[in-house]
């Protein structure tokens, strides 16, 4: 398992999607927006927003692309012929992505301390770690789900964008929704990114009361379970295997013959 995680992690650092979405994008966003606004109070929201957006795009989009590419090349079909369990493979993939997310988050956090004057205590760091871990698993599972619903690269791009951008826009990652229409706020409450942002927002506050964190974190864990179950139920071993809704149609056709 460690060999697999290690090899995956090394390859991640050579992957263009990973470099852009997981490493360059969050660091550039933090530096750009932080220096542009140059506002001490906003720096905390910015740090929380960058960390969570990094998970949203990094885990969801990059996982979706990787899973789809591996499946369409027949990697999973061959994996199935080995004694290695799929659950272990998914765990190794999620593990390597989590290590990467933690490394990038550490860089982003350090930059926010040095460049933007953000102050964090040990409790904040421990809570941020917890939220990061749960968030990475949740959005990696969502990435698997996006790949399971896609048949090619164009498709996976569209589906992962359709999942990610509405979640970003109906969250309070970078701006408040206090003056937004009620329907936007309602939609925001129905998706996991809202709770990731809420939990991270509380975690990064240095002197804040952390008790408000448990409810959004619990809801995020609930979404994580749902996403994991959906990812497992819709998992496709090879590109020839139809998506789950077509499988059901095929089964109904066969039954009616």
């Amino acid at each position: 398992m460690l060999t697999i995680m290690n090899t995956m992690l090394r390859a991640l650092f050579r992957d263009t999607h990973t470099l852009v979405w997981n490493i360059v994008f969050p660091i550039a966003m933090l530096a750009g927006l932080g220096l542009y606004f140059n506002d001490g109070a906003y720096s905390y929201r910015l740090l929380s927003g960058v960390l969570t957006t990094n998970i949203l795009f990094g885990a969801t989009m990059v996982t979706a692309f990787n899973v789809m590419a591996q499946r369409n090349r027949g990697v999973y079909k061959l994996l199935r012929a080995t004694p290695f369990r799929t659950a272990s493979f998914v765990a190794a993939m999620t593990g390597s992505r989590t290590v990467l997310a933690l490394l990038v988050s550490a860089c982003v956090t350090l930059m926010s301390v040095v460049l933007l004057g953000v102050e964090l205590n040990l409790l904040s760091i421990a809570l941020m770690l917890t939220v990061l871990l749960v968030g990475t698993v949740c959005f990696t599972a969502l990435g698997f789900l996006a790949a399971n619903l896609s048949k090619d690269e164009g498709n996976v791009n569209m589906i992962s964008n359709l999942m990610s951008f509405p979640m970003l826009f109906t969250s309070e990652a970078f701006y408040s929704l206090n003056h937004a229409p009620q329907w936007v706020v309602t939609i925001g409450h129905l998706q996991p990114f809202h709770y990731l942002v809420e939990a991270m927002g509380i975690a990064v506050q240095p002197q804040g009361d952390a008790s408000g964190l448990w409810l959004p974190l619990a809801i995020l864990i609930g979404f994580t379970m749902l996403c994991l179950v959906a990812a497992v139920l819709t998992f496709r071993w090879d590109a020839d295997q139809p998506p789950f809704w077509k499988k059901r149609q095929a089964g109904q056709q066969a039954a009616s013959m």
């Binding site: 090899t7 990697v75 061959l78 199935r80 012929a81 080995t82 071993w237």
Partner: protein, 239 residues
């Protein structure tokens, strides 16, 4: 001489919608033999292998193995080149070794790549290798855990003559070392050179099986190509 049977498949059937792809196939794979499965495109060869290797669930029929853990002792090379995108040849081999529970040092992985003539391509992105090198890497991945049975699905398809020759030599050397090998092919010359026994599948059914000499004698033909054409003429799927 009594030869141990490694895999015994009986009555394998698989349909997709109204189309029956594999129709009551019986297949035995024996220890130490080189078995060729031949037939036209769409005849059901690869699906039969998928069913035998438990990669797809048959609608009917059963498969018996010589061991409780067949996945641990079978090496498989697929028709496609299933490499992890962005991984080098060495990293792909390391991953598949790990899938079999092996943590091999780089020196051992390099030795295995070298056996397949890939030592200089070890640090190259697997997807940038030539067609012949990709096939050899796929075979190296199938051999990484020293399997008792090696299954190669069209190992020489779409390769230039030199790459085909290299892979045939690799298969021959594996056979000489006592490995049991099953391969699919369209190349009757290759089949005649390598296989000790062959099974011809057409329209999802086994049309003939035996040693090349037995089949030439039984059907009174001069070559396997002639036999192939005669027995697959009636197959509407033949291309």
């Amino acid at each position: 001489m009594h030869t141990k049977t490694l895999i015994q498949a009986s009555g394998l059937t698989k349909s997709y919608g109204s189309r029956t792809v594999v129709d009551g196939v019986d297949l035995a794979i024996r220890e130490g033999e080189v078995l060729a499965i031949i037939g036209p495109n769409g005849a059901g060869k690869s699906t039969t292998l998928d069913l035998v290797l438990q990669l797809r669930r048959p609608d009917a029929g059963r498969v018996q193995y010589w061991t409780q853990e067949p996945a641990r002792h079978i090496g498989l090379q697929l028709q496609s080149t299933p490499f992890f995108p962005g991984f080098t040849a060495l990293e792909n081999l390391r991953m598949f070794a790990a899938f079999y529970g092996l943590r091999l040092p780089d020196s051992e992985l390099m030795r295995q790549l070298s056996r397949c003539g890939l030592e200089e391509a070890a640090r190259t992105d697997a997807l940038r290798l030539s067609g012949g090198q990709q096939k050899r890497l796929a075979i190296a991945m199938a051999l990484v855990h020293d399997p008792k049975l090696i299954v190669l699905d069209e190992p020489t398809a779409a390769l230039d003559p030199r790459a085909r020759r290299d892979i045939r030599e690799l298969i021959r050397s594996l056979a000489e070392s006592g490995a049991s090998i099953v391969f699919t092919s369209h190349d009757m010359e290759e089949v005649h050179k390598l296989a000790g026994r062959l099974v011809l599948i057409s329209g999802g059914r086994v049309r003939a099986s035996g040693t090349p000499e037995e089949l030439l004698d039984r059907y009174q033909v001069d070559s396997l190509e002639e036999l192939y054409i005669r027995l697959t003429d009636a197959d509407p799927q033949a291309t």
